[in-house]
Amino acid sequence: MEKQLSPDEKQETLFQRWLSPKDPQGNDLPFQSPEAEKLYKERITRIKDAIQLKKKPDRVPVAVIPSFYPAFYNGMTPQEMMYDYDKLHAAFRKFTLDFEADVHIGATAPGPGKFFEILDYKLYSWPGHGVSPEHSYQCNEGEYMTADEYDALIGDPSGFFSNVYLPRVFGALEPFQMLPFLPGILEIYGVAFNFIPYGIPPVQAAYKALFEAGGEALQWAGVLGALNAELAGLGFPQLWGGFTKAPFDMIGDTLRGTKGIMLDIYRQPDKLLDAMEAITPLMIKMGVGAAQMTGQPIIFLPLHKGADGFLSDEQFEKFYWPTLRKVMLGLIEEGCVPNPAAEGGYNSRLKVVKDLPKGKTLWMIDQSDMATAKKTLGENACLLGNVPSAMLHLGTPEEVKDYAKKLIDTAGKGGGFILSNGAFFDHAKAENVQAMVDTAKEYGAYK
């Protein structure tokens, strides 16, 4: 029998894979120069040291984490980013090469507009479809799962997604309501009945749309892959190996909406808790699967509905945290590094979320007090953030430098800190973004 690797060994394996990038064919990716290779490895090692809290990196690493900023920086619109993949590639390439942060996040965020059109995606409005070409996409929250459907979700999450949820959020997949119950396919007797739906014209039309959408997704992903490979060859690693979510947000953002899930806390708390438990292994699988595929350990988890002001501490500890913690522990067990983004304020949660193994997580901090975060959560976790979006947009380079220096002095003390903006941003002054990156390089060295 093969020897089971420990979580630490699994993490090391993923870091090693990240350090040795491959091209799409699986061969070693050629670097543009020995200098680029050196920089690539130094950058990942810097991030790794910051995360593991075992030793101080050579200096404070720096990241810039935008949403549509690369579009505006290049004088393009979000609509162009979503519909013209060459422009998407050019904009994110230039953005990464101009600012020279230690890591970039790739060009995944804008998403393929035509793909959304083919499937008639309803969960979001996007440039030209419900919002203007100059604006970013936004979520159309709703009850895509009704209050009485918890049992259906808990009993068969995948079936619920394919036959109930997808038909509601993708207009083109509405006929998927007719799809068969796959575990009914068992013997020769009657087995063909299960396949009748695939012969029905609307279902066939839905599959045609799916094929077309798949082709579009492949084309888009090819551009992203080529960009990542090119940037890696130039010495710039991509931060995230995948993405998953807190079970509470998975239900609250995607299925029930804010209003729905907040009411469920009072009206059917046990169902909500059971559903989050049922989803937890799937959220772990989602993150681990992505890390295995990309060969990169860091898994991003944007946290939404657990912030200060949304729930009481008691509600946070009962409904939000336990399954989020389980997801993170499940990821850590398989060698991943969970990277939750504590959007908004997390001040009253810091002491609670500290309860994780040391040196295994990376927390993006938005508006929480960084000195407190360092003293609590920072004892166990690497912190990333929290230069404010407003300052990047309207401040001066001097203000950004002063702020970043203070962050390095407080949050950066002893290692365990990556300088970055605190929340995804669309608009900023380039000189402010540059000032943030420069400050880490000029001021962030550990002696």
Binding site: L263, Q315, A390, H393
Partner: protein
Amino acid sequence: MSKKLVNAIADMREEEALKLAKEMVEGGAEPMAILGAAREAMDIIGQRYEKGTYFLPELILAGEMLNQITDIVKPELAKLPEIERHGKVLIGTVEGDIHDIGKNIVSFMLDVNGFDVLDLGVDVSPQKFVEAIRDFEPQVVGLSGFLTLAFDVMKETVEAIKTAGLRDGLKIMIGGGQVNEKIQEYAGADAYGKDAMAGVSLAKKWVGVK
């Protein structure tokens, strides 16, 4: 009975509250008395939110209970008894932004704190704000925005209000997402509120309520 109803609503006992309201209607209670109890409960809920014992789940459930109770009492009486209003606040999420959770809380809190609130919803153009200011004649306007794009739209909205000749004597507050005092200066607003209570305090200060 009415006190029991107040407590049931304020303590988030939804089933009991609805049962009590039904019993009161069947027992011939004045619709106004029932709605008055609901209003009293909303005040308590607002206070608990201000103190940090209640959060989003409670505000949302409170809104749901209020709707159901007004339905029980009589659809044509769907207005709560008028209480003395301190002043008028016009509120909305600025153009291009469709986020509404924070804005809804501010609306709710202004309402329970005695303001006459007109909520224009989300993605509200500068022009719509201007028209609503003409019609509604508020003392205070609240601009909400979650995205960084909202910074510029807030500025445009304030400018549109100025251009329309409606800026004098009007107080404008902004809030939401990444908004802070820097954005307030940039947008030309009078103040920013970091949360719903700050918005209520600003409105109270501006209309002269202690």
